[in-house]
Symmetry: C2
Subunit: 355 residues, 2 copies
Amino acid sequence: MSAIDNPYYSPEFHGDYELVDIGRLELEEGGVIPACHLAVATFGTLSEARDNAILVTTWYSGTHQIWRDAYIGPGHALDPERYFIVVVDQIGSGLSTSPHNAAGPNAGIAMSAFPHVRIGDDVVAQERLLREHLGIETLELVVGGSMGAQQTYEWMVRFPGRVKRAAPIAGTARNTPHDFLFTRTLVEAITSDPGFAGGEYASNADVVAGLERHARIWGVMGFSTEFWKQEVWRALEFETAEAFLEGFLQPYFTAMDPNDLLCMAWKWQHGDVSRHTGGDLAAALGRVTATTFVMPIDEDMFFPVRDCAAEQQLVPGSELRVVQDVLGHLGLFSVNPEFMPQVDRHLRELLGTKV
Amino acid sequence: MSAIDNPYYSPEFHGDYELVDIGRLELEEGGVIPACHLAVATFGTLSEARDNAILVTTWYSGTHQIWRDAYIGPGHALDPERYFIVVVDQIGSGLSTSPHNAAGPNAGIAMSAFPHVRIGDDVVAQERLLREHLGIETLELVVGGSMGAQQTYEWMVRFPGRVKRAAPIAGTARNTPHDFLFTRTLVEAITSDPGFAGGEYASNADVVAGLERHARIWGVMGFSTEFWKQEVWRALEFETAEAFLEGFLQPYFTAMDPNDLLCMAWKWQHGDVSRHTGGDLAAALGRVTATTFVMPIDEDMFFPVRDCAAEQQLVPGSELRVVQDVLGHLGLFSVNPEFMPQVDRHLRELLGTKV
């Protein structure tokens, strides 16, 4: 029940970031994070008028690293020469306050004692960080993929006047029942490992078998059937599908902390902006004033286009912009050279809209 | 390493069937079943000319019971008043020779000692049964769903002159890489349970946690995202998705034998008619002379229409007949009242073709 060391969660693997202590965070579900630290990476310079800020939210297992490497930079829509781009790693990401690193004032919530966190808690924390620590009140754009889309929707509904534009990519405002069940199989792959020991393992290496099974379930749902059929992994220079799993997807997840993944999984499962409106999703999304592009990925197996399109119809004045990628959901990794040009085209157009 | 009792595999749960000993079966992978017993249920009467026989093959976890209850009967295309319908439960089904029931001359291959069985072994066994025990050389129709479709394709390629018509439903001739990975997650849900004990458990109850996880993975892939979103389970008189899982899908699988499921899973993973032609699928399917309707289910998550359509294009003179069912793959259970009328219409038309 005390924090453990995991070298994966360090600048060596994720590049530079700043840890900002935003103070005590009371959680929706009743728990408390005594000293909530958010890992933050910024790109570009905040204008004097403080009117060029973009917030990027992160997905399950992902951090600012993938955004820095693939999505942000000169030539991209997220151009640091023009915008001040703030990527905030989610609570439970392993970089921000998370079960495995809860120490000092957070020692009481380490490991299995970590409280349930909701998407809304992240957004409240991000808003405080932006306002109190960066002096940002209004965002030109909020953008994120998957769980990052959940946070984007939460921003759109919770702080409609503060978000000028929004781009939820490959994610939903209210988690679907199918997604809930899918995430449950991920959770169970981890918790069923005897090495998990109810969350009180000494090292993530004790749970490697469960983390590997978790990775292989991702292999089934994270990529599309065509990804496997067309052997798209060959473009990543693997010789066999098995080598791809063993050389890419399994190491990606076995480096991570089981409790951290479970924290994010619970949050993902319970993502739902309609809790602001007594369960009425149309009423919640009807509050949105941001100019919004809803951007599902055509081959996504668990955030299928039709689920995203149904929500898009409820967002006033929004547009559906489908991204084509045979990788499916994990197209978000941006390994397909045709992925980013589409994302950039949509985001550039969105940023070009007058608001 | 000796057979165990499991009351689920009995006429009480599956209705009447006959156990036919077809003798020693040498297996493709090198193993042997010393005395292969096939569970067989027949409906109708074989004509004197022996020209009205239909063979039905079974899917993973399914037996003749579902075919008898849902697919066969007066008013259905599979009409016992006109046809002699033979349903053969697959090896590993728990009714035919299987790991959990291997006793007597098969005692040496009980439980974890059971050899790998291929789809081709089932078809060889079925052909022997039909010819030697029922005097049937030619089949008016071979039809099966899922793994039953794999067996149907094997019949079409292996015995082209003996199969007049064929209807592979919701399955493929060569298993896809995605299906292989999906099935692996099912296998691992079982084998990772400490109670599995390397296949030497004393009762399937020892593996209930693994079997339940296996059932929940089926919940994610077996039904469609829309099934869950539209809460189609309400039509089955459940109050919640959780109640449906606990009252339907989990009990369905926890009654079964883990080694039997693994035997079928391995067979499913390795289904491939192109092993007859050195890996050339077009050459294998080019051998087919049966009049064939390829019948995928539109919402199937793991035998998607495009995979089935790609194979259909390789079968000379075949037609693609897509069945609409929001249940997805497990539409095969025929709980949707709109499922059987479609299947019957296609099969009736197929049986009406002159060959």
